[in-house]
């Protein structure tokens, strides 16, 4: 048992390492993904909030001043970078659709762990670099940020990332039957854009939507960690976030295991 855990651990570190090594092979692509994309998103969000405050002719919205919203926009772009999976979900779908999955399922490892470790490895290396952008911006513009809360916020966001991967795994299982399903990813991620709180803080929503949407696990991706770091959310809500993600992880992983088994039994080993 001890040995098998050590093997599992070594193998998954190697997968995380693979993600880092293969992404660093294409330096410009990596640089744009880690720096240019978050800079662009942050710029757009900040401009949007400037426009909102200017147009509304008010100093506060929902009890918070402009600096709070600028800070939210800044950190939301950073956390949303962690909490979203486009590239690896597309790859997982493509592996099944094109049959390149053949080389993975005949090896003593699981498809789920292989991609989860790669996703975590890649997010880790991009997070370290992307973090430079909001830290410098918050310092220059004196935006409200509670740095001591950052570690817990990052932990919740990475924990939520496991749920994001589980959802990706469920989506890719559909490729066993439908082959090309990348439109699912686009539709799903657009929905998450709102549900995570990336577009705007979820506490701006009217009731009864507000409490219900915050109770969903998706708020743990952006709204809760960003709210925690910018002072909109307390520790109690953060703990609720951990509980919500845990419950959904258990349910969706059971569902995923079932779908995977069904999908593989109908798989025809495409292309070889």
């Amino acid at each position: 048992m001890k040995k098998s855990f050590a093997v599992f651990w070594k193998r998954n570190l190697a997968f995380a390492n693979l993600a880092i090594v293969s992404n660093l092979e294409y330096r410009l692509n990596y640089f744009i993904d880690a720096i240019v994309q978050p800079l662009t998103t942050t710029g757009i969000e900040i401009l949007l909030w400037f426009a909102v405050f200017k147009g509304a002719h008010t100093a506060t919205i929902n009890g918070y001043g402009r600096e709070f919203y600028l800070s939210y926009a800044l950190w939301a772009a950073f956390f949303a970078r962690i909490a979203t999976s486009w590239m690896y979900e597309f790859r997982m779908i493509e592996e099944i659709g094109s049959g390149t999955i053949n080389s993975l399922i005949v090896r003593p490892m699981s498809f789920y762990e292989y991609y989860l470790s790669q996703l975590l490895g890649y997010k880790f290396i991009t997070t370290v670099i992307s973090l430079i952008v909001p830290i410098i911006a918050a310092y220059i513009f004196h935006l409200p940020t509670i740095y001591s809360r950052m570690p817990l916020a990052v932990v919740l966001c990475f924990y939520y990332l496991i749920l994001v991967h589980t959802i990706s795994f469920l989506v890719c299982c559909a490729a066993f039957y439908l082959t090309k399903i990348s439109s699912f990813t686009v539709a799903k991620n657009l929905m998450f854009w709102i549900l995570t709180g990336e577009l705007f803080p979820l506490d701006l929503m009217p009731e009864p939507f507000r409490s219900k949407i915050i109770a969903l696990p998706f708020s743990s991706g952006v709204y809760l960690p960003v709210g925690f770091v910018t002072g909109r959310v307390g520790i109690h809500e953060m703990m609720n976030g951990f509980v919500s993600v845990t419950i959904w992880l258990i349910v969706l992983n059971l569902l995923g295991a079932w779908f995977w088994k069904k999908g593989l039994s109908s798989y025809s080993g495409t292309g070889a």
Binding site: V7, K10, R11, L13, A14, F15, N17, L18, V21, S22, E25, Y26, G99, T100, N102, S103, I105, V106, R107, P108, M109, L264, S265, S266, Y267, S268, G269, G271, A272
Partner: protein
């Protein structure tokens, strides 16, 4: 006699969407689609001994790759049963997967964006191999295949022949007990084919794995195979040695006519294509 692969009534059926020509039919297909069934493998019964090289020969679409895919755990059969090293392959138990390897000549199995040495280091972790032992094995195999100079080059930048050598090293790194080789020399020039054939012959003599080999190059089969399995429309139609097969075929010919293995297979495949 140590049987390592055994199948009983192994059957696989595929369903395929038939799309009639034209835009109107594409629109119709949104609401209703017609599927046809094809039996790729039909009630196949096999027993394969340990340490033998089996040459699996048949026309395109005869069921060779389907049989290989089922025995390696890639595909689940529609009916029937199979045991490979005592495991049901499609259950994909780790203990089973650690002892087999499949090389699909038409697919890359190493990682495209990284160098082969990085791929082998990853494979060593996946198969839980000691890194020093794995590195030594890579060095030995690459020397035998004369490809040590490209081990550090990104896979995507290698020629087809070099890539195939890298794939072979990847497939043999964990010293599998069962090796499935699906057209390992496809697309290679005559010299490269011969090199790989000689390498495989030497490797098999030394390590004695059980090998199932499919190839459209009859030299591969004639040089390497201990036994021949001839497959036609999902059915095994001949099991025996290459020599017996040639002798039997020659005995059916006119007295002054003698043909070699390649010619017998060519005639068999021609008959096949006429019957289809």
């Amino acid at each position: 006699m140590n049987i390592v692969i055994e199948t009983s009534d192994l059957t696989r059926e595929y369903k395929t969407y038939q799309k009639p020509e034209g835009l109107a039919n594409s629109l119709k297909g949104i609401f209703k689609r017609e599927y046809t069934s094809k039996i790729a493998l039909d009630k196949t019964n096999l027993k394969i001994e340990s340490g033998k090289i089996i040459g699996l020969v048949g026309a395109n679409g005869a069921g060779k790759t389907t049989l290989l895919k089922i025995l390696s755990g890639l595909v689940t059969p529609t009916n029937g049963d199979a045991k490979v090293l005592g495991f049901r392959p499609w259950e994909r138990k780790y203990e089973f997967l650690r002892q087999i390897s499949i090389l699909l000549g038409q697919k890359n199995q190493l990682w495209w964006d990284i160098s082969p040495v990085d791929s082998y280091a990853l494979l060593a972790k996946i198969y839980d191999l000691d890194s020093t032992v794995a590195r030594k094995r890579v060095n030995d195999l690459s020397e035998m295949l004369q490809c040590s100079h490209v081990l550090n080059t990104q896979l995507r930048r290698l020629s087809l022949g070099e890539r195939m050598k890298m794939e072979i090293i990847g497939a043999l790194l964990h010293e599998p007990r069962i090796l499935f080789l699906d057209e390992p020399t496809i697309g290679l020039d005559i010299v490269a084919q011969e090199n790989i054939r000689n390498f495989l012959a030497g490797y098999v003599r030394e390590k004695e794995p059980t090998v199932i080999l499919t190839s459209h190059y009859m030299d591969d089969i004639a040089t390497l195979a201990d036994r021949l399995l001839l497959i036609s429309k999902g059915n095994i139609v001949y099991q025996g040695t290459v020599n017996e097969f040639v002798t039997n075929s020659n005995s059916e010919l006119a007295q002054d006519e003698k043909v070699d293995f390649e010619e017998v297979i060519r005639r068999f495949l021609e008959t096949e294509s006429r019957i289809r």
